[in-house]
Amino acid sequence: MDTKTASPEKEFFFTATEPEFRTQEMLLNMGPSHPAMHGIVKIAVKLQGELVVDADIEIGYLHRAFEKSCEACTWNQAIIYTDRLNYVSPIINNVGYCMAVEKLLGVEIPPRGQYIRTLLCEVSRVADHLTCVAAAAMELGAMTVFLYMMKGREYLYELLEDFCGARVTTTAVRVGGQPADLPEGWTEKLTRAIKEVRVILKECHALLTCNRIFYDRVRGTGVMKADDAMNWGFTGPCLRAAGVDYDVRKYFPYLVYDQVDWAIPVGTQGDNYDRYLVRMEEMEQSCRILEQCAKKIPNGPHSVQDKRIMLPDKKDTYGNIEGLMNHFKLIMHGHGIRVPVGEAYQAVEAGNGELGFYVVSYPIEGEEKDGCASRPWKARCRPPCFHFVAALPDMIKGDMVADVIPTFGSINMIGGELDR
């Protein structure tokens, strides 16, 4: 098919209409264990012919007590649990949690650390969007796009692997800074990866954006207009596709997002096609942020120079008694980082939208010392996709049963973050 001649402006796709004759309503369970359900969630749809008249969502199959686990471990140990929230872009979760704790501690990490975090976050965001678009396209039959995009994600995961050794559960951030500096030659590798990703984006645009089959499946389905989207607490690409330009990175700037030049793409209709376009454009904007950060990254320390917060370098731990004591003072049971009593909410822009961490420090009986706590009293995560899944029945009602798949794909439900 010649993708250039097909014009997306001409609207001659089929729309779901009221059936001419009514049949008996049928209840269809999609999931909880179903390849299109990305993880485990159950959608019970009530069908009238092929038309969805009602839907009910059941979640919680992946609930593993994220908060309860966090409350039982030290401030730094909880980072490991945040990896498992949105496992496609774990670094953004790490950064969000660590920034919330840093807010409680009242420390700000040095500029180089902030640049490293921004770089890692944007690499994760591109990987997150690539995964989302790839999976959604594959479910509509575009296997080529899936393979191309997975290839692109591989370049980015290699960058993360270079930085911290892990690809998925990275734990690449600490309270108070970064555990390590960027490895040598990382920014050059990043430049090459951006180039490859851009080629892939161009290819996928050619394969999907003006593709009649894809366009007809996603245009006008899963519509969520701006007013409703705000009422449902939408954030991120799903809200921006409806035309609201809310992005935490611009509205409540953190890290170095206010020092680089980039734009917020918005859609107009709030349907699956706009969500796809917004994600595609956001990847390009993230590439721009990455390029600028790679150029501007300053020299200097990558974490706070405070022995009560950051572990010493390994050469000090193994090389002298002060380093060794410092290390044990932060690691031993009953010691560790002491966070002053208080509460803080820190929001970051994750791949899906506003990821908020509401962290409370409160003296624990028997462990209290100078009004500080060695463990989180509460570490609440505000997951962006929780709100999308809550709104899903509204989005699929009135559509065909086949439209449930692209709608569910485009909201990018992540089980780990939804169920916690």
Partner: protein
Amino acid sequence: MEKSLAHRKIEEKFPQAVLDSHAQHGDETLILRKEAILDVARLLKEDSELQFNFLMDITAVDYLGRQPRFEIVYHFMSLPFNRRLRIKLQSDDLYPTVKSLTPLWKTANWLERECFDLYGIRFEGHPNLTRIMLYEGFEGHPLRKDYPKTKRQPLIGPQN
């Protein structure tokens, strides 16, 4: 500390509602009388100078051993004015009851269900206050501090 616009507006309209306020770490926080939440939330949402049109989060905190024991925490955000506001309600009841915000925000539905499920907070006027993360028949509310972390309630398999 100078009172914020939201604080002044709430005090003007509901003189008894605000119990305390602070702005720790730059997060503006108001502690309200529990009964006032629905009216105050409506004011926050509909007042043209406030326009807190996003309900970002609802959660609770269990301060076991302190009085009052429970805090129900709301996070609001105003897109037009680029502000955030945290509102806290306190209660010492074993099963605190507060008014539901579902008439104002649809997203309150699931957030409140989660809060009910994990903390046992009752939301008055909620259309479907059932468990969301856990299964029907689960006993207790696991995020309460007096629920032991090691307690197991499997649907199938060996019991405790």
